[in-house]
C-alpha cells in the first residue's frame, strides 16, 4: 500500500516536471522571457527634417559600428548585404539594409530597426542570428540607433534580393530565444561614476559601437561571449585575436597615447594591423575623431593603465640563435633592418613589434608562411611582404620564429618544426 503511494508520487512528480519543463521550454520558445530594451519613444516615425538632420551623425556612428564590413559585400552594391559567413552547419549571408521597400528595410518602422539592432529581432518577429552583433549593439543609445536609421533611410535603395542561408533548418531561428536567454544581457550597464567621462565614452565605443568583444572575448560552449573572460583574446579564422585587456595591451607594448594612433592609422612602431583588423581599420577605426580614438584607447588601456612590463630577450640555444640570425639577415633584414629597426613607410620594426610579443606563435607563423598582401592604409599604401613557405623548410621557419620571438618579443623559443608542419597541414 505504502509502496503504491510512493510510486504514485514519483509518477506525479515526473509528470509535473515534464509539464513544467515543457511549458518552460515552450514559453522560452515563444519569447516569453525576452526583454526588449527598446522604449515606446521610438514608436513615432522620424520626421523628414529629423532624418535629414540625423543622417550625417548616422554616417559616423555606422562607421564606428563597422556596419559596412558585413552589409556591403566585396564588389557588391552598397548596403545590399551578401557577405558570407561560413559556419560548420552552412553559410549565412548578411542582409540588404538599404531602404529598398522590397529587398531592403524600406518597409520597416523606426521601432523595427531599433528592435533588430538592440533585441536581435527583425521586422515581423523574425529572430536574427548573433552573427549580427546585437548583443553588443544592445548597449547603443536610442539616439545613436536613430542616427543610423536616418542614415540608412537616406541611402540609395538597392533592389538586390538577400541570398538564401544554407542552414539545414530554417526554423532554428526561433530557437535563438534560448540562446538569447543565456547570452543576451537583460540590461544595459550604467555609466561608471568612478571613472572619467572619457573612459565611459571609450567603453561605449568599445562595447556598443565597435563590438570589439565579438572577436576578442572568448566564447563558451553555447557560442556566447564569456563575461568572465572579457576581451582576453580568442581564435578568429585560425589566428589569435589578441588579449586586449589593459594587461594584455601593456604586454604587447601599447601605451594609451600610441594605441589611439594605431587604431586610426593601422600602423606604428607596434607593427601593422593584420588579419581581420586590417578591414576594421579600413572601414571603421580610421574614421574615429581624435577624441573618440583617445577615449577608446583610454578605456582599453585602463584607468590607470598598468605599467608596461620590460620585455627582455628570452634565452636561445647557440644553434637556434645562430641559425635564426642567419635566416633573419637572409630574408627579413633587407626590409625590417639589420637590427630590427624597420624602414619607415616600408616595413615595421621588429624591436617593438606586438606580433612577436603574443603568447602564441600562430599569427607570426601564418605571416611567415603566407606573407601579407599590399595594403591601403589611411596614410599610404604599404607594400606586400612575401611568404616563405616555399622558400624555407619547416625547421628554418621554426628557428626564425624562435629567434624573432625570443630576441624582440621576450617569448620562450618553443616553436618546433612539427608545429610549423602542423600549421601547414591545417592550412592546406
Amino acid at each position: 500500500m505504502i509502496i503504491r503511494k510512493v510510486w504514485h508520487r514519483v509518477v506525479l512528480a515526473a509528470v509535473v516536471i515534464v509539464v513544467l519543463g515543457g511549458g518552460f521550454a515552450l514559453a522560452v520558445l515563444a519569447g516569453a522571457f525576452e526583454k526588449s530594451v527598446v522604449s515606446a519613444a521610438v514608436d513615432t516615425p522620424l520626421s523628414p527634417e529629423e532624418i535629414a538632420e540625423l543622417a550625417p551623425k548616422g554616417r559616423y556612428i555606422a562607421a564606428a559600428a563597422d556596419c559596412v564590413a558585413c552589409h556591403t559585400a566585396v564588389g557588391g552594391a552598397p548596403w545590399a548585404g551578401g557577405r558570407p559567413f561560413e559556419m560548420p552547419v552552412g553559410t549565412l549571408y548578411a542582409t540588404n539594409i538599404s531602404p529598398d521597400p522590397t529587398y531592403g528595410i524600406g518597409s520597416w518602422t523606426r521601432a523595427d530597426f531599433h528592435r533588430a539592432m538592440r533585441d536581435g529581432v527583425a521586422k515581423g518577429g523574425r529572430h536574427l542570428y548573433p552573427a549580427m552583433p546585437y548583443v553588443s549593439y544592445r548597449q547603443m543609445s536610442e539616439a545613436d540607433v536613430d542616427a543610423v536609421w536616418a542614415y540608412m533611410l537616406t541611402r540609395e535603395p538597392m533592389a538586390v534580393p538577400d541570398r538564401q542561408d544554407s542552414l539545414p533548418f530554417p526554423y532554428v531561428r526561433q530557437f535563438m530565444t534560448f540562446w538569447n536567454l543565456l547570452n543576451l544581457p537583460g540590461n544595459v550597464p550604467a555609466p561608471d561614476a568612478q571613472k572619467s567621462a572619457e573612459w565611459n565614452r571609450g567603453r561605449y565605443l568599445v562595447d556598443a559601437l565597435g563590438h570589439c568583444g565579438e572577436c576578442h572575448t572568448p566564447r563558451d560552449i553555447t557560442m556566447g561571449m564569456m563575461p568572465s573572460r572579457y576581451l582576453e583574446g580568442a581564435v578568429i579564422e585560425g589566428v589569435d585575436a589578441p588579449d586586449i585587456t589593459p594587461e594584455g595591451l601593456a604586454r604587447l607594448g601599447f601605451a594609451p597615447d600610441r594605441l589611439a594612433g594605431f587604431m586610426r592609422s593601422g600602423m606604428g612602431p607596434e607593427g601593422v594591423m593584420g588579419f581581420a583588423m586590417y578591414d576594421v581599420v579600413h572601414h571603421s577605426t580610421q574614421y574615429l575623431t581624435d577624441d573618440d580614438a583617445a577615449a577608446m584607447a583610454a578605456y582599453l588601456a585602463g584607468e590607470p593603465a598598468p605599467a608596461a612590463p620590460v620585455v627582455a630577450a628570452a634565452d636561445l640555444s647557440p644553434e637556434t640563435a645562430a641559425n635564426g640570425r642567419r635566416l633573419y639577415v637572409a630574408v627579413c633584414a633587407g626590409c625590417h633592418g639589420i637590427e630590427g629597426e624597420g624602414t619607415p613607410s616600408m616595413a615595421p620594426p621588429m624591436t617593438t613589434n606586438a606580433e612577436l610579443r603574443l603568447p602564441r606563435p600562430v599569427n607570426l607563423l601564418t605571416v611567415l608562411a603566407d606573407g601579407i598582401p599590399w595594403r591601403d592604409f589611411p596614410h599610404g599604401r604599404l607594400q606586400d611582404m612575401p611568404g616563405f613557405s616555399d622558400l624555407l623548410t619547416d625547421g628554418e621557419i621554426a628557428d626564425l620564429s624562435n629567434y624573432l620571438r625570443a630576441t624582440w618579443g621576450g617569448r620562450a623559443p618553443d616553436v618546433s618544426a612539427a608545429d610549423v608542419a602542423a600549421l601547414r597541414r591545417a592550412r592546406d
Partner: protein
C-alpha cells in the same frame, strides 16, 4: 671597424664561386656587384617593390626555378645554392663573348620591348622563370595572357607601357612547343 664575415660558396651561372669571405649582413645585389663584378642585376628601389634586381634560384631536384629579389635577400641565403644572373642567359664562347641571346632576350629586342633598359634584367629573369614553369605545367591557350600578366605584374618599368614586354613573352610562349595545351 671590421665587419664580421663568413666564407660563402655558391654556383653562379654554372660556375663554382668561393669560398669568399663575405660580410654577414651583405645583401645579394651588393655581393654580385662588388665581389663578382656582375653588375647587370639592377638596384633600383632597394626595397623589394620593382623587381629590377631579380635573379633565378635554380633548384637542383628539378623543380622550376624561382625568382628572387637580390636587394632584400642576404648573400648568405645563397650559400650552397645555384643562381643565374642576367649575365648567364645568353650563350657565350670560350672567351666569354655572347654568341646567341636567349629566346626571351631576343624577343624583347625584336618587339622593341624596352627603352632605357634599366628594368630589363628583371623582366628577362621573370619571363624566363615563367617559361621554365610552363615547360613543366603548360597552360590553356585562353589563359596565356592572364598568366603572363600575373607572372610579370610585380615588375616595374617606368619607360614603357608594358605591352611590348608582354607581347614578346606571348610570342615566345606561343612559338615554343609544349608550353600551351589545347
Amino acid at each position: 671597424m671590421t665587419l664580421p664575415t663568413t666564407p660563402l660558396s655558391l654556383v653562379v651561372n654554372g660556375r663554382q664561386v668561393g669560398p669568399i669571405d663575405v660580410p654577414d649582413n651583405l645583401m645579394m645585389v651588393d655581393f654580385l656587384h662588388e665581389y663578382l663584378n656582375l653588375t647587370g642585376s639592377r638596384l633600383a628601389c632597394g626595397q623589394g617593390v620593382c623587381w629590377a634586381c631579380t635573379v633565378m634560384l635554380l633548384d637542383t631536384d628539378g623543380a622550376p626555378p624561382r625568382e628572387i629579389r637580390t636587394c632584400i635577400t642576404g648573400a648568405h641565403f645563397f650559400a650552397g645554392k645555384s643562381v643565374r644572373t642576367i649575365e648567364g642567359h645568353a650563350e657565350r664562347d670560350a672567351d666569354g663573348n655572347v654568341t646567341a641571346l636567349s629566346l626571351v632576350q631576343q624577343a624583347f629586342i625584336e618587339h622593341f620591348s624596352f627603352q632605357c633598359g634599366y628594368c630589363t634584367p628583371g623582366f628577362v629573369t621573370g619571363a624566363t622563370v615563367l617559361i621554365e614553369r610552363l615547360k613543366r605545367e603548360p597552360v590553356a591557350r585562353a589563359d596565356v595572357e592572364s598568366t603572363i600578366e600575373a607572372a610579370l605584374a610585380p615588375h616595374v618599368c617606368r619607360c614603357t607601357g608594358y605591352v611590348r614586354y608582354y607581347e614578346a613573352v606571348r610570342s615566345v610562349i606561343l612559338d615554343t612547343p609544349g608550353l600551351v595545351v589545347g
